[in-house]
């Protein structure tokens, strides 16, 4: 969309935590759709790494200095982006927060999934499939990464509370890399050949986990509940290598994020909290229209 700017169009900076996962690409699709529909220009820009907090601060700062009309931001840390968000508000630029929370209330709207609830949904599915007993492991993303920490903790607590017969035997991290997740999954399976279930808390860890299951010929013997969806992961549900995927609605996050700030620019006041919801995709429901709509 470079060069298409005409001065009459409002410019909305949409700033994700990172750019290179299909999750963010789907957010972008939603934002672009809203931009086309509402007649605003979308500036999509994020740091290369999701851990690059000061890189994201720089991008927000540059957007403010560029005097965009509004900002839609997925803060890479709840505390770190507070000064920038407050500064934008002082300078009259409305900010909508999406995906992860922020420790201030000086924003317009907060559009996100309840990550903890996502973990709980995964835990209930796991509990049902295993009939309330067995050994499971968690393949996490990175300790300290807030949204995935919440999913993993949601999962852990729900298992402990609702399925006392299920034992969580190992918890390793894949460092947001598919290959490292695969190695970690292999090592989990080495340590616990009798494992019954595995929970992977984002796209890269799910990719790694399903590769380990395929390479270990464990399809059908191990219940894998993953998180996030790509066409490839969805295909893996068909033959049972993946039991189910907790799916957020990144398209809606992008769409709603842009809609809220455009509403504001048009003088309306959007809701402060918009929950984009989580769904569970299984073999049974994967062909329903609602599910198809979630994986763009």
């Amino acid at each position: 969309n470079r060069g298409t700017n005409t001065k009459s169009q409002k410019v909305i900076a949409v700033i994700p935590k990172g750019v290179s996962h299909s999750f963010w690409q789907t957010v972008k699709a939603g934002a672009d759709a809203a931009g086309a529909e509402l007649g605003v220009q979308i500036d999509w820009k994020g740091p290369a790494q999701e851990t690059d907090i000061s890189g994201q601060i720089n991008i927000v700062e540059d957007a403010i200095n560029r005097r965009v009309d509004a900002i839609v931001l997925a803060p890479s840390h709840g505390d770190s982006l507070v000064p920038m968000v407050e500064r934008a508000q002082r300078e009259g630029i409305p900010v909508t927060i999406f995906d992860s929370g922020i420790s201030t209330d000086k924003y317009l709207s907060y559009v996100s999934t309840d990550n903890r609830q996502g973990g709980v949904v995964a835990a209930r599915r796991m509990g049902e499939k295993l009939g309330g007993k067995g050994k499971v492991a968690i393949l996490g993303v990175k300790k300290g990464s807030v949204s995935t920490d919440e999913r993993e903790q949601g999962f852990e607590q729900a298992i402990k509370k609702e399925f006392p017969g299920i034992q969580i035997v190992q918890w390793l991290y894949g460092e947001a890399s598919a290959t490292k997740s695969l190695s970690a999954a292999e090592d989990i399976l080495t340590s616990h050949p009798d494992l019954n279930g595995l929970f992977a808390s984002n796209e890269s860890s799910t990719v790694g986990a399903v590769s380990a299951i395929r390479q270990g010929n464990l399809t059908g013997k191990l219940t894998l509940v993953g998180f996030d969806a790509t066409p490839d992961l969805v295909n893996n549900i068909k033959d049972g290598a993946i039991d189910s995927l907790v799916i957020q609605n990144p398209f809606k996050m992008g769409y709603e994020g842009v809609r809220t700030v455009v509403d504001k620019l048009n003088g309306k006041t959007p809701d402060k909290r918009i929950d984009t919801g989580v769904s569970l995709m299984t073999k049974e429901n994967m062909n329903t229209p609602e599910m198809k709509q979630l994986i763009k």
């Binding site: 470079r2 001065k7 740091p47 957007a63 560029r66 840390h77 770190s80 300790k143």
Partner: protein, 321 residues
């Protein structure tokens, strides 16, 4: 060629960039250029301060023939410990000293290991990179240290005379000091001598181990200070802060004419190297270039800037006499 022209040369790539970006903004985006506004220049100063401060210390270490891959991890460790000390109630200023002290201690350790173990600094500090990062993560259990006092943002946010960001002043102050040290003191002179030929330096009566340790400790201290600024910017102590900075810092030194094999490098060159990378990133954002294309452009500019610099240097040597 007169001497002042020669001094001026390294700036050329930087100035060319600074001219191209507003032109791009005007013709490409059809906007009034924002690049050269005071606000944006201040932003660049804030954005590059962390790398520049570390790069000044790295200049010393690299001129002396060493290298330190652990600086990014030091930023993280110092950030966590310093932030914890502030949440524990230490006043902000004392907290800043903690950052610097933690950094200097790490640097001292690096220097002592390099001289005592007699193995290449690349290895020692590659190990240290893992150790310090692991320590920072362990201490904070991987979570960012939050709840800093409101004054913690001071270092990064404060502007002097209502316009100049405080980090800019810190950078300038340390640049002057390190420049003076490198060009006009024993400590600096020995740096070049050791980097050029460490055996010869030892035979000339220089206590090479002691000085090496000092250089690493200074770099560590400056990395700790960088950690303080980073913490102040993010208002949290991030255990992952500074990840990958080592390459940026080393690149700044090398773009600025420093040599990986020691004996060459200047503070002015390093600052320009750091600014080139900072301006590129900022300009890319202003020009709304895709981050993927930005990576390509930054990579190409690093190669071109050094090639151009080398070419000028060689041409000048031929024409001197």
């Amino acid at each position: 060629m007169p001497d002042w022209v020669k001094r001026f040369l390294p700036f050329i790539s930087l100035i060319a960039l600074c001219a191209l970006i507003p032109l791009g903004e005007y013709f490409f985006l059809g906007q009034d250029p924002k690049f050269l506004t005071a606000g944006n220049l201040a932003a660049i100063a804030r954005q590059t301060a962390v790398i520049t401060i570390m790069a000044m210390g790295m200049t010393m270490v690299m001129v002396s023939g060493g290298i330190d891959l652990s600086v990014g991890s030091i930023v993280g460790l110092a950030g966590v410990v310093g932030a914890m000390s502030m949440t524990a109630g230490l006043p902000v200023l004392a907290g800043i000293l903690i950052f610097i002290a933690v950094g200097a201690a790490c640097g001292l350790l690096n220097g002592m290991a390099v001289t005592a173990l007699k193995i290449p600094p690349f290895i020692v500090t590659l190990g240290a990179m893992g150790i310090y990062r692991g320590l920072g993560l362990y201490i904070s259990d991987g979570n960012a240290v939050v709840g800093l006092p409101s004054g913690a943002g001071y270092l990064a946010e404060k502007t002097v005379f209502g316009l100049f960001p405080l980090p800019l002043f810190i950078v300038i102050a340390f640049a002057l000091i390190v420049h003076f040290v490198l060009s006009s003191t024993k400590l600096g002179r020995y740096c070049y001598a050791m980097g050029s030929n460490i055996e010869a330096a030892r035979y000339a009566g220089i206590r090479v181990s002691t000085f090496q340790i000092v250089y690493y400790a200074i770099l560590g201290g400056l990395s700790g200070l960088a950690g303080a600024i980073e913490t102040s910017r993010t208002v949290t102590g991030q255990p992952n802060a500074g990840e990958g900075y080592e390459l940026n810092v080393i690149a700044a030194v090398v773009i600025g004419g420093g040599s990986l094999s020691g004996g060459q490098g200047t503070v002015v060159g390093t600052i320009i190297g750091s600014l080139i990378m900072g301006v590129l990133a900022n300009g890319g954002n202003l020009l709304q270039i895709s981050p993927f294309i930005q990576k390509i452009v930054i990579g190409a500019v690093i190669v071109l800037a050094v090639t151009f610099d080398e070419f000028q240097r060689r041409r000048m040597e031929t024409s001197e006499s």
